[in-house]
Symmetry: C2
Subunit: 354 residues, 2 copies
């Protein structure tokens, strides 16, 4: 830290992304929940033909990709804001809807960025522990003041709530916003976008990084009432108006024009997930029921840290978190069938060596 750094950040602990080793090609990468499938040729061709001249600024309203997303979910374009990945829309929501007077409410085990967003925005926060089985108790959120952040499916557990359960939280207090982070919703969970049409106190955030194979392009979005989107636009136009570049916008439209490809990939991931879960359970692992493109796993025979590092020795990256409550668990992204076969084989070897 330099001697100039603002006193406001004295205790700030940044988010730590999943490791990206420089010799990445050596590894089977199951640590950052990416898709094993590239964007489709149809999407790429569309982008090549339709990217706005790069010497011109991107459209600060990102009107065309916004309209394409709105069309996809049958909502008004004024109910959609696109961002530079979904981390940006989440940060905007923390900026807009949490502060020292209005706390952020979120689970103890969830996306690790929420406490960082709360901290950098000097917001109060209240941590609400998950149950012992890592499920979220909706009633814990009823009657609390603050802005609720729920990842659904949750990360790193993969556990999803039905939309009707989230609706109970939304309905319980119309003077409080519920932000539903649906980064992983396309792998078997139920979206809350439908609730946006009936309640004005919900913001649903999604991303092109997972089911849509576009983590490298950085495209996220939020869907909420027009007045919520207007608030978030005020934040955008006060920080980075040209937040989504022209190449990413064009790719976004191309990807949405090929939804069948996205759906087929999601089906494959769900099949590979079942295959992997079955294999791990046969090896005696505990595996939480996942509705995401990753699984959260633990074994009595090896610690989480050892499992992670032994897998890395074998050329397979999975994610281990040092947080006490989950230190014996690892998160494993679901890749191609070949990747998951290699993963199960390596796991069996590690157990037999243990």
């Amino acid at each position: 830290m330099s001697r100039f750094f603002s006193y406001k950040y004295a205790d700030l602990e940044p988010y730590v992304p999943g490791e990206q080793p420089s010799d990445m090609a050596r590894y089977i990468k199951l640590n950052t929940n990416e898709s094993p499938f590239p964007p489709s040729e149809k999407a790429l061709s569309y982008a090549r033909a339709n990217t706005r001249s790069l010497q011109l600024y991107s459209d600060p309203n990102s009107a065309q990709v916004t309209k394409a997303i709105a069309g996809c979910y049958n909502v008004d374009p004024d109910m959609v804001l696109v961002t530079n990945g979904s981390d940006e829309i989440l940060n905007f929501a923390f900026m807009a809807y949490t502060d020292d007077r209005n706390p952020a409410l979120f689970a103890d085990i969830t996306y690790g960025f929420y406490p960082v967003f709360a901290q950098i925005n000097a917001s109060a926060s209240k941590i609400i522990p998950l149950r012992d089985d890592f499920s979220l108790c909706v009633d814990d959120y009823i009657g609390l003041k603050g802005t609720v952040f729920i990842a659904n499916p949750n990360a790193p557990t993969g556990i999803a709530l039905p939309a009707s359960e989230i609706e109970r939280i939304v309905k319980a207090d119309p003077d409080r916003i519920v932000v539903v982070d649906e980064a992983y919703v396309d792998f078997g969970a139920e979206s809350c976008i439908d609730l946006v049409r009936r309640y004005d106190n919900i913001l649903v955030c999604q991303t092109f990084s997972k089911s849509r194979s576009f983590a490298g392009g950085r495209l996220g979005y939020g869907i909420g009432s027009k007045s919520i989107i207007a608030d978030l636009n005020t934040i955008k136009y006060s920080t980075n108006p040209y937040n989504v570049n022209s190449m990413t916008s064009a790719m976004g439209i191309g990807i949405l024009s090929d939804e069948e490809y996205t759906r087929a990939n999601c089906r494959t991931i769900m099949e590979n997930r079942s295959f992997t879960v079955d294999g791990l359970r046969r090896l005696g692992f505990k595996v939480l029921d996942s509705s995401a493109n990753f699984i959260f796993v633990s074994s009595d025979r090896i610690s989480g840290a050892d499992y992670y590092s032994r897998m890395k020795d074998k050329g397979i990256l999975i994610r281990h978190f040092t947080k006490k409550r989950i230190e014996n668990w690892c998160r494993v992204s679901i890749g191609s069938r070949e990747n998951m076969e290699a993963f199960l084989k390596a796991t069996a070897e590690i157990l037999s060596e243990a």
Copy 2:
């Protein structure tokens, strides 16, 4: 504004980008200081061949493009941070180095985003008026506490200070940071990057949006001491770690591999600027001496607002600011020779009709 919006933003007035009419193709666009030249074929080919697989996250360290920029200026890669356009690095600098105790110091007539950045970060600010001729008086900054923000060349005036003058500000107080915003430096001004090697209290911000024909790709960067860049990385990793997408990084490297193209375009813009300034002065316009890819102009025969709107009627977009002190001025981006001939012809017509 929704009923949920944080009290912190009650008075926030977002930045207003230059207009982007939906029927843009109808206009000669001289209002947002873009390059009239596309990125070179060499840069595009490089990017097509070298973009990381898009289903994978971009490198959060943006190591390769960071290294390419560092090589360009002969500094250590740890002295460079790339961002999603230079607005992002400027916002990071306001976040890191200004607050309620440490004001932002900047001119009354300068990049209009500075007061917005100060406001959204709840920072104190002190406005230091330019002289009557719109030049910046370096002595006004000596002895003041706070973080200095200087656009050099300044916008919208185009006036540049020599690096030795900025060095006086840097040298005067080693406990204060000077941020030099060099978005337009490649059109005839002197960069302060050399000062970064000798002082640890200066941050130089540049962009690929102007001389490098890549406004649509969103790539900016800051160059400063390692501890300054470490601070700004703390901000980045607490807001949006994957801030630069893979396509933009690859294009950035491609563009830097073709510096001769960039330099040739800058020479052409400077020639077209001389041509335009001469033409306007012959028509009786006041034109400030510009070291940027735009000029700031005013005429006794027509108000700034009228000039802007009459030009728009003729299919040419220029930029007019409503701020009192400059309400009789317009900012005109320098485009191709054909564009500037059309611009001068339209100006002559407007004056003859006045």
